[in-house]
Symmetry: C2
Subunit: 240 residues, 2 copies
């Protein structure tokens, strides 16, 4: 495993030590690790970088390196829990901040999913989600304007657009389609996720329809950092 590579050896030692520590705990600095194992700072640094690659730690310049824990987020058709609920059940503290609310023309792909003409008007909600104070996700949500002419400031208080749709539009939104992929974010998304390095992130695209009429109601793109959540997707048969 760690054949001839001192830094990998050190990384393994640190990894087992980290396993017993709780999330958020600060680990030894690179200087301390270097001194402890009798190596240069470069080697110690390589070991910590290895741990970062394994998503075991999170590094903050000027502050230190901290133990990281991911929470499992299971997407399945049998149950579609909100991320808020999942985080709370895992003992974490979820928070959502609305970054922007505006009216825009629907981009082509989103318009197609919402079965609206391309360029037709919609409300766009941009939100960031946090888990235990750490940035986790960045989401865009669209609702066609013909469904909901006005979108007041109350959106800042609600957890998702779901409640707005239920209360104001009197519809019963259910998730109708969902696509999960893992790839590099564009510049805007990378900025929203504060991923300094261009690392791959999760992308969950989803569509909600009205349970009764089948009308496409809402569409969302959610990017989330893989060092925060461990995404698991379950598919049930039968296959066609």
């Amino acid at each position: 495993m760690a054949k001839g590579s001192r830094y990998a050896e050190i990384a393994n030692v640190l990894a087992t030590e980290i396993a017993d520590q709780s999330a958020g705990t600060q680990i030894a600095s690179e200087h301390e690790i270097a001194a402890r194992f009798g190596v240069s700072r470069a080697a110690a640094r390589a070991a910590v970088q290895e741990l970062e690659g394994r998503l075991l730690v999170r590094r903050v310049r000027g502050a230190g390196t901290f133990v990281n824990r991911r929470i499992d987020y299971v997407l399945s058709q049998r149950k579609a829990p909100s991320l808020h609920q999942t985080v709370r059940e895992a003992g974490g503290e979820p928070r959502t901040v609305v970054r922007d609310v505006r009216r825009t023309a629907l981009p082509a792909d989103v318009a197609a999913r919402l079965e609206r003409p391309e360029g037709s008007e919609a409300h766009l909600l941009v939100r960031q989600s946090y888990i235990d104070g750490m940035l986790n996700g960045w989401a865009q949500e669209w609702i066609p304007s013909d469904l909901l002419p006005e979108l007041d400031a109350a959106v800042h208080a609600v957890e998702s657009l779901d409640s707005i749709l239920r209360q104001v539009c009197r519809v019963d939104p259910v998730r109708a389609w969902c696509r999960v992929s893992y790839s590099l974010p564009g510049p805007e998304v990378a900025a929203g996720l504060e991923t300094a390095h261009n690392r791959p992130v999760w992308l969950i695209e989803s569509l909600s329809r009205d349970r009764e009429t089948g009308t496409a109601l809402m569409c969302s793109n959610t990017w989330s950092r893989p060092d925060c959540t461990r995404l698991i997707v379950e598919l049930d048969g039968p296959w066609k």
Copy 2:
């Protein structure tokens, strides 16, 4: 984007150049990059490592750094194409090598999925899959022995256990369940995938049943390298 960081700047330059080159092309060595941009080899190396992190290149010690391309592998309930087919459609050359065939006792989780008693006997097939000669995946497949008493050497010739089940057992296997996750492989799997660094990989767990009777027929765990395939999972409604 590349503010203050020379290596990131270099990485971006190289990334755009790479975009125009075909898969497998060898890029400049670290020495050449260092000379070209007037930086030390460490900085050049950091740039190439950045590209590796973006899955844009693949590095081989002693040989060089080569342009990498991923193929999209879409998992959905509407269509469940084999990886072989997907690769060929993308213009790649798929290959599968049987690494091991043996009888074993079913592990607890697999036994539960196959609806067999824990520890009951099964055939275990271990295979590696390649795309254009590069190692892509490592798979374990189980068939309960009560379904198929004998498993002859013919398995080396077939593409999957699917054909064996159809021809020998006279059943009609359809995928009944599937779970996709992304996490660190265990030591055995890491060795099978030749992932020197402990990097996360895809894990696809799946179960096949007989179309008619619903009997659980086959169970598989497939790990695959994220630098080879870009996995996309589609979920269709309705949600419960």
